[in-house]
Symmetry: C2
Subunit: 368 residues, 2 copies
């Protein structure tokens, strides 16, 4: 739909989600039909089905559905069934990539729950087999791209985009893991600059640039060399947008109520390299810094409270309000570098401001 | 070199290995130069360097070097420096793929040592970060393929070959993990048929088909539809060859002396779905079966001894001798389906029997 999500009724939203979910059931059967066709045992096939069902479709699906939305905006009219299906397959490939990352991240972080259920690796009989299950979720992406896009002119672009985005996310994950190990607190390793790097590599590329770039390829927009490249332009807007999104996420983990964010924030207890701690570190007095050093990342409600008090004292709330206003204006400014009539040759599909505005609208001043 | 390995002097072998290892030092610097160029912190760069150095070059390098050997055989004369380098890059991509699998397999199997040193995840400060380190080894493959092969006509073939081989290996790993979990013995799940499936998917595709297929693409052999396809032919020989190799590996784990195989076999203690146990199960009397059920997969030298006694009683040694002779003849027969002058059009690079004979020669009656 071309309506902004905010003005869409709950019923329409549910319908939209269901339509997208239906495509998952199709590709899941494609994956399992191939698997069974290779002569694999029934118990292995059941296992793979559980892996897919448990880990892929249960999230908010924002990343996946945004591919479909973007293809629709670029086309400027309703998609044919075939166009919808192909865009949705690309969307599910992002959801598979995210599932690959989340299943393995939960193991590395010793997490307990994810999306309201036990983390996959915590299920009986799963354990560290979850590592290979994560691999298979990634492997499924390339099976699907080959099946549905092999004959397109932009097939190799899709492959490279997935390779590069995967590698970028892994690089971000590495920096995060060695900067903020769950079991060893050292705030000297933290900084707003490090935070920025982690956020861009670990989150922004796959969550924001990837869906739009996939939609652009599918819409026939070709990369060009020089300063008119739509992909470079999209990246220059979507990476700051992803950074803003994650800073907001970090802020809400501290300042959002459980009713708002649907969970209890644990970033302080988990030693997360969050925007809040990095902002506090940048402004803390030596006394406040000592409180942070002694209490950050401890599995202890009293310690968490002391950290929150320092956050309030240094004015994290007010600094966030300033950051958000500035980020919004800055990103709007970037979006307005796109010509009002879109970027691209007449007669070809043009990159439009609306693509980016629709992302920004969904994020700005969201409470959850 | 075109000489069979067996007649090559130790000095020549060492030179050959050194030349191949030198290429690793080049691509490692390429990976790190890109990493540093993205503005990553020094400690992360050091970490990635350690990950690469610790996990990629320390093995036998048979898989990687066989790409170079095969390109040389297909060309029929010495390689130029550029040809050597490109073939070696493809070889190192297999070694990276294997490192990705081994680093993660060791975590899933709770292994202690690998290649004479502690498994990577067992190093202090590494732990489960090794999961993401494994991902980065896989990610490095696509960075290197793009850097060195993007402008070739067979680039997309290389990408698809790595995708498919990776997925096949992951599928084999899944079957292995649920058939023979390290901590739960159930011999009812075992069978020679299951063993075959695990071996083909988990080992044969990436160890035997992958190096030859990569060399074929690099040599300009095009896949064709119909029954003259060189890739299908290569697969039809190399998959049985890989099966033979793994059965031999399983056999030597039981029957080889530590001096021969350079380690002490632990397949029985580790509950491995090995050719030996599956053969014993196929021929055991109910009494022998009871001994196997009670003693297989226990961390206990007495239990291991009882299993070995049953292996001797059912005649695993003699059955292996029969299997090996049959496998050798069968694979030779398959190789001889290739026309003596090679498969392919005159004036083009032809697929030669010698490619496969050189593999078979290295394996037949090896003692380690
Ligand atoms: Mg986590
Ligand atoms: Mg994490
Ligand atoms: Mg968060
Ligand atoms: Mg193992
Ligand atoms: Mg294993
Ligand atoms: Mg073995």
């Amino acid at each position: 739909s071309l309506l902004p999500t905010s003005t869409m009724s709950a019923e329409l939203k549910a319908q939209k989600r269901q339509k997208f979910e239906h495509v998952f059931s199709v590709i899941r059967e494609e994956l399992l039909t191939h698997f069974d066709g290779e002569g694999m045992p029934k118990d292995a096939s059941q296992w793979y089905r559980s892996n897919l069902d448990y880990n892929v479709p249960g999230g908010k699906l924002n990343r996946g559905m945004s591919v479909v939305d973007t293809v629709e905006i670029l086309k400027g009219s309703a998609l044919t069934d075939d166009e919808y299906f192909k865009a949705a397959v690309l969307g599910w490939c992002i959801e598979l990539l995210q599932a690959f990352f989340l299943v393995s991240d939960d193991i590395m972080d010793s997490s307990v729950t994810r999306r309201g259920q036990p983390c996959w690796y915590r299920n009986e009989h799963v354990g560290l087999i979850a590592i290979n299950d994560a691999f298979m979720l990634e492997g499924a992406i390339y099976f699907l791209l080959k099946k549905h896009f092999r004959s397109t002119s932009y097939y190799v672009d899709l492959l490279e985009l997935f390779h590069e985005t995967t590698y970028q996310t892994e690089i971000g994950q590495l920096i995060d893991l060695i900067t903020a190990p769950e079991d060893h607190v050292d705030l000297n390793k933290f900084s707003l600059e490090k935070h920025r790097l982690i956020v861009i590599y670990k989150t922004a590329y796959y969550s924001f640039y990837l869906p739009v770039a996939l939609a652009m390829y599918m819409s026939g927009i070709r990369p060009t060399s020089g300063d008119k490249d739509g992909y470079a332009l999209a990246r220059s807007i979507l990476i700051p947008l992803g950074e803003y999104f994650q800073i907001q996420d970090d802020y809400l983990d501290f300042a959002g109520t459980p009713e708002q964010i649907g969970k209890i924030g644990t970033d302080i207890i988990d030693n997360k390299c969050s925007w809040c701690i990095n902002t506090a570190l940048a402004y803390a007095t030596p006394e406040q810094r000592a409180v942070l050093d002694q209490n950050y990342g401890r599995k202890d409600a009293e310690a968490e409270k002391k950290v929150k008090t320092v956050f309030e004292e240094v004015g994290v709330r007010q600094k966030y309000a300033v950051y958000e206003e500035d980020a919004y204006k800055r990103i709007m400014g970037l979006i307005e570098t796109i010509p009002a009539g879109g970027l691209g040759q007449d007669g070809e599909v043009k990159l439009k401001r609306e693509v980016f505005k629709s992302f920004l609208d969904k994020i700005y001043k969201r409470q959850k």
